[in-house]
Symmetry: C2
Subunit: 529 residues, 2 copies
């Protein structure tokens, strides 16, 4: 199983139209074969047109068939795991165990979202039956549910070559919701993208689904992505990446003649608050936990702690000193791309020059595309009101913020921008008094963690991977991880006074799909009398 | 109960700061006392600041208390109905019976959304309990729900002085979701707005709620609305009105440093398709139904049929001829404002000059601010691809589109832009064959009606008042009417590994509010073990 460098447009492929680019092995600097042809405007138009043509069939596809398709993809990802991981290692520099785990997570997501599609709870089916004799006016029969938006564009991410790329969470949830998907591959791992894309296409054929179900386009630059977001046939966009990238796409989509939603998961500093009691009770565990969580994936996760807030006590100073010593001795790690590594160097250099900011740990990174931890400290009075210190630095860098007292800690919490997560470590005695701080953190993040760490994301019904802007472009009203992710790709449709046999199966009296429905105000899995 | 012309800012009032304006009685042209002071920048800042301060208390307010507050408002609307309707008649020219019915609907909405808040289904509570012994990693405890966004701005509409104004559906659903509300009154009915606003403030005091729960601002122009939408303390916007107005607010909100959602319900042409069998079977009923639905509220409802699509048959020609004769003989009706009347005249004049368009009925309107029906016809080949013919004309004007055959009818359906509703009239024998046409209509509207009429909106759990752009700014992903309207004002928050007593009541093991929750994948009203 080797990539050949062509765009996958429905069941066809593009000619070698646009600029050719190659992936780079970040561990060695080596350019990897083959070359990948950037898609051109015709390719974009064809991919979207195929999606538009496939959309009606997909909208009617029963949840059980969507589930079968997603399971098929999951099975083939697992069957081809060795080939996929081998290519991904070359393109990302990520370790084998991590990539194997990510393939497993990706397969798990596909299956979970497929089950959700078949179960159909997410459709929010509601039925109000007619009352012909109601006075003063008869009550009509109304039956409503969520229905798919149509063709969706998904941008592959740099940091999750499987779980948030070609067959990742955005793609899986869009298929589960009934939408054709056009993926714009991340240029850092085009070979991995092509291999996964081919597996998706095999599943499309095996399941007898329409050609326009899926396309995969490459581009070394931005024009393909922009053309996709502007295309009138595209009805929604999923994106995981940088704040400037996500915001640019959201602005583009908002300025269309017909605006469309962009679900962009962007920057997040994931603040961690350490209360004095927690520091007293478990300094060694906190050092271990913060070290591990901050450096996970060489600091290239969406949820690495980027800001650590403490009250200045002797114990807290000791904790930070010991943590800094451990960070400074950390061996460098390979970053995903030279561009990400260069940005890390530039941004840590700039932060070191900010007023009131001091470097507390600087590891030694010498290789081509590697980084070692660069940590900073400052005081709350410098942090509050200095927007630059609230910006995410993607990579192994965090900022310790010292507070003089509890009031300053609350002030820091109030000044935070939106994040995916916010974490509180409290001692046994002080935890019960944290109501105000917990409310502040819940107003700033989509997930609040008590005495734990933000990295390590559970994909489930209850998880939320979202947050107020700038964590996500829609202010945390939806989530990109978990079964609620399906809701992003759908709109509400109500049928009034329809003959039963003309209704979608989900709304018919006999409840042939066995769905849980709100019938005249009561939830039931039963039929309508 | 008489208005005094001051802005209501929390429990205070503004001085006579900005330009003073008066409402106009559209039936007589008379300017109505008192003058209303346009709010200034300080007023806007104070109203939002009060809302920001009230938001944390509102976020924690149990659903039962939100319900009690909404019921209190509903009760006082009903108690003061005569005073409210008397003022609204002067300001809107709408008939007394209609206004009384609208007050009743408004009270009903407040109670329904209050019940939804207390019941708490809408919160979508989900709980996944910890599994400490799971391999390879322990499973954390995750509990998530929807939580309110914070202060919301609601723009009163011109055409529903009660149901979509100060204490209308947007306000009621935002309160039910736990958000403070700042209303920008529609300048056409400031007196009605003030009277209702005072009732809301009484309820705020009676229920012991914070001062910033509610404010009401006046403005003769646009600057107050723009300042509100730009204010960093505002977290979402509700709007019912014209497409240019809604789009301008959506663009403003999208361009903020922190973009916020604008839920704008805008233009809709509400197409009605009449199949040959329906025309054969029930011409008199169709004439009566189309006549009544099109002219309801002098054509100033969001859901009046604006486009009637038929196949050219002798029976269909007879139907249109008879309908046109009845329309031409219709007595003029008072429109809401001189501005709306002038726009109606200008737009019907422009439409008459479009290629392929002919006037089929023109009633006689001579009074100051009145309109009589102006109907047009054209052929499908002129309609398809001419965007100007798809634009809503607010008022008693519709366009008949003649098709040569079924294929042309489908082509018209495919060419439609988004609408709030789409209606199909089919004969008994032809209805079962309409699957393709129904799917096309469901892709273009938030509500599809079989053998009925789009006006007359049932406020319920199942209703959808939404549609693809330009019907609504968010493409129909949410609804402005019905209990699903609450979801617009909330974001997702997940709590990880929290001690039970530190969780919001909604998420605690004992389920003290008796909510329906998804616990480890199963829906239950019970406790968590």
């Amino acid at each position: 199983m080797k990539p050949d460098g062509g765009n996958l447009i429905g069941f066809g492929s593009s000619g070698p139209g646009g600029d050719v680019f190659k992936a780079i092995n970040p561990a060695t600097g080596e350019r990897l074969e083959p070359g990948f042809a950037s898609a051109d405007a015709d390719d974009v138009g064809r991919a979207v047109q195929l999606g538009v043509e496939a959309a009606p069939a997909w909208a009617k596809l029963p949840g059980a068939q969507r589930n079968a398709f997603l399971r098929r993809i999951a099975d083939s990802l697992e069957a081809k795991c060795a080939d996929l991981v081998a290519r991904a290692r070359l393109e990302t520099g990520l370790p084998e165990a991590r990539l194997k785990g990510e393939v497993a997570r990706t397969a798990g997501q596909l299956r979970l979202y497929g089950e959700a599609a078949e179960r159909g709870d997410w459709l929010d089916v509601r039925i109000e039956t007619a009352q012909a004799d109601r006075s003063p006016l008869p009550k009509p029969d109304h039956r409503s549910m969520l229905r798919p938006l149509g063709p969706v564009v998904v941008f592959g991410s740099s940091n999750f070559p499987f779980a948030y790329s070609v067959a990742g969470g955005d793609t899986a949830s869009a298929f589960a919701a009934g939408c054709p998907v056009i993926v714009k591959a991340h240029p850092a791992h085009p070979g991995t993208s092509e291999l996964v894309g081919r597996l998706v296409l095999h599943a499309v054929r095996d399941c007898g689904l329409p050609e326009g179900t899926f396309s995969l386009l490459f581009d070394a630059g931005f024009s393909v992505g922009q053309a996709l977001v502007r295309h009138p046939g595209v009805k929604a966009v999923g994106f995981t990446g940088s704040l400037p990238g996500g915001r640019a796409l959201a602005d583009l989509a908002a300025a269309r003649p017909e605006p469309i939603p962009v679900y962009a998961e962007m920057g997040s500093i994931n603040p961690v608050f350490l209360l004095p009691g927690a520091v007293e009770e478990r300094t060694p565990a906190l050092i271990e936990g913060l070290y591990t969580s901050s450096l996970a994936g060489v600091g290239q996760f969406c949820t690495n702690p980027g800001v650590i807030v403490l009250q200045r006590t002797p114990a807290a100073e000791r904790l930070v000193r010991e943590l800094a010593a451990r960070l400074a001795a950390t061996i460098e790690g390979v970053m995903l791309t030279p561009g990400i590594r260069n940005a890390f160097v530039a941004r840590t250099t700039a932060r070191a020059e900010q007023t009131g900011v001091r470097v507390i740990a600087r590891g030694n990174a010498t290789s081509h595309c590697s980084a070692a931890p660069v940590w900073f400290e400052t005081e709350a009075r410098f942090f509050v009101g200095n927007h630059a210190l609230s910006e995410e630095i993607f990579g192994p860098s965090s900022l310790v913020v010292w507070c003089n007292d509890r009031a300053e800690m609350l002030q820091v919490a109030r000044s935070l921008e939106g994040s995916l997560t916010a974490t509180l470590h409290a001692g046994a005695a002080e935890a019960p008094q944290q109501g105000e701080l917990i409310e502040l953190l819940a107003a700033k993040a989509g997930r609040v963690i008590l005495n734990g760490y933000p990295t390590g994301l559970e994909v489930s019904h209850a998880i939320v991977h979202a947050g107020p802007y700038p964590a996500t472009s829609d202010g945390g009203r939806s989530t990109s991880v978990g079964t609620r992710a399906l809701n992003r790709w759908a709109r509400l449709v109500c049928y009034q006074n329809f003959a039963d046999e003309l209704l979608p199966l989900e709304l018919q009296n006999a409840n042939p799909l066995g769905l849980r429905r709100l019938v005249n105000g009561e939830w039931t899995n039963g039929t309508v009398q």
